[in-house]
């Protein structure tokens, strides 16, 4: 066996091309960085110190978070609702306080206007109307001289209410309702009011139509007296929309002092709500 020539095999030489190829390939590869033990230890110590400092100094200041996402959203919605309701109540209170002040001014204005009417011709009334309408169209926000009236829509359901124009409430029902709700719904200042109803009523063209009836439930003026153009949506809460109803004078209807009832319908004739307004 020793005669077998292993020396030739030992002398075998792999060509340098292989080695050069390896070296050229290795030069293109970035070697894996070697992590220094000191650096790793220092990083660990730093993170440990940071965690300790957070636990000691920052733990007491942090507020507990709500664990699950759905509860968060619910609470957020509830808080929004509460905040909006509070805001609405504060607006109402402000309006009430301001209404008392405005009452006097309005009465003075009415008395003055009566005096002017007595002096001027009846055509002067028509000349005043466009100015009022323009004012309202330019200001779709809450007027400080308005006192909101509680809507009766919450008691009105779609099942009980007739769905067409022909099935409108009877005179007796309306008179009974007026008797029961008269105190709450009557607007002391007169023509302006606020109604509230669900947006689901706004079907069709999305407009609201109003018919004004007097105490004897006789219609006053055209049925399509008010459309959404004459309403100012100023507040949208969760589940209901509040509308500010401009005075009938703003659309060219002059009502004599007295108690009127506004019936609101959508395009399909479905009654939405009704409000009693007292015009002085």
């Amino acid at each position: 066996m020793n005669d077998f020539n292993f020396d030739k095999m030992k002398s075998f030489d792999i060509s340098d091309e292989w080695a050069d190829r390896v070296l050229s390939t290795a030069s293109k590869i970035k070697p894996r960085p070697k992590y220094n033990a000191k650096i790793i230890a220092s990083c660990l110590c730093l993170t440990f110190v940071c965690m300790i400092s957070v636990l000691v100094f920052g733990f007491g200041k942090t507020q507990p978070q709500i664990p699950t996402a759905p509860k968060e959203t619910e609470t957020v919605i509830q808080t929004q609702e509460k905040s909006e309701n509070k805001a609405y109540k504060t607006v109402k209170k402000q309006e009430k306080s301001e209404v008392t002040q405005v009452k006097e001014t309005k009465n003075q204005e009415i008395s003055e206007s009566k005096q002017e009417e007595s002096t001027k011709k009846p055509t002067d009334k028509k000349e005043q109307k466009p100015t009022v309408l323009n004012n309202h169209t330019q200001k779709p926000v809450i007027k400080p001289t308005v006192k909101p009236v509680k809507p009766t829509n919450e008691t009105v359901s779609e099942e009980t209410q007739p769905s067409t124009e022909q099935s409108l409430p009877n005179k007796e029902e309306s008179t009974e309702e007026s008797k029961t709700d008269n105190e709450d719904l009557t607007s002391p200042t007169g023509s302006d009011c606020i109604v509230s109803f669900s947006p689901s009523y706004l079907v069709g063209d999305g407009k609201i139509y109003c018919r004004i009836k007097d105490v004897n439930d006789r219609p006053v003026g055209d049925r399509k007296l008010f459309s959404s153009e004459h309403l100012a949506r100023f507040y949208s809460g969760f589940g209901s929309v509040y509308y500010y109803i401009y005075s009938p004078q703003s659309v060219g209807l002059v009502l004599e002092p007295g108690t009127y009832r506004y019936y609101f319908y959508n395009e399909h004739g479905v009654p939405i709500t009704d409000v009693i307004v007292e015009i002085k």
């Binding site: 066996m1 075998f12 080695a19 030069s27 070697p31």
Partner: protein, 160 residues
């Protein structure tokens, strides 16, 4: 690249020094010059990327042989093709096996004898060292050496 330290040697020095050892291991195992070249390259690149901590050059050499064998096994497992045993194959023809008398290693001996014989007679490893490199018991290595010698003796007669 030259800053890397492999048992006191730079990467280039390692490649130049152990290219024959690794190259022959790859050639004997794959019997194909092209495939052996790929495994040869992968072996040294693995050393470069991994940069293992090796105490001495002996460890480095053993590590390279072991990795070369693993690379060849991986290559054969991946390609699953028959090892070229044909002497008329282009790769084999181009390889100067006759000049260095590698024909016994390439064609006559079985794979299991070939590596043991090579490591024992060419790389001058001892039985225990071969056992560690090939991860086999020393007695198995001894048996393989004995049978390989008998095989070569039967082929080359009294010359071996």
């Amino acid at each position: 690249m030259g800053d890397e330290n492999f048992a006191g040697l730079t990467f280039e020095q390692v490649v130049r020094k152990y290219k024959n050892t690794v190259g022959l291991v790859c050639i004997m195992r794959l019997k194909n010059q092209t495939d052996a070249d790929d495994c040869f390259q992968n072996t040294f690149l693995r050393l470069y990327k991994k940069s293992p901590k090796l105490e001495s050059e002996e460890h480095l050499k053993a590590w390279l042989i072991r990795v070369a064998i693993n690379e060849c096994n991986r290559f054969m497992r991946k390609n699953r093709k028959e090892v070229l045993l044909d002497k008329n194959s282009d790769d084999i023809v181009n390889f100067p096996y006759e000049e260095c008398d590698l024909s016994w290693a390439l064609f006559e001996l079985n794979d299991k004898y070939r590596e043991v014989m090579y490591l024992y007679y060419c790389e001058n490893y001892k039985v225990n060292e071969i056992a560690k490199i090939l991860k086999k018991p020393p007695n198995t290595i001894k048996t393989l050496l004995m049978r390989g010698r008998e095989k070569l003796r039967s082929i080359y007669g009294g010359e071996c």
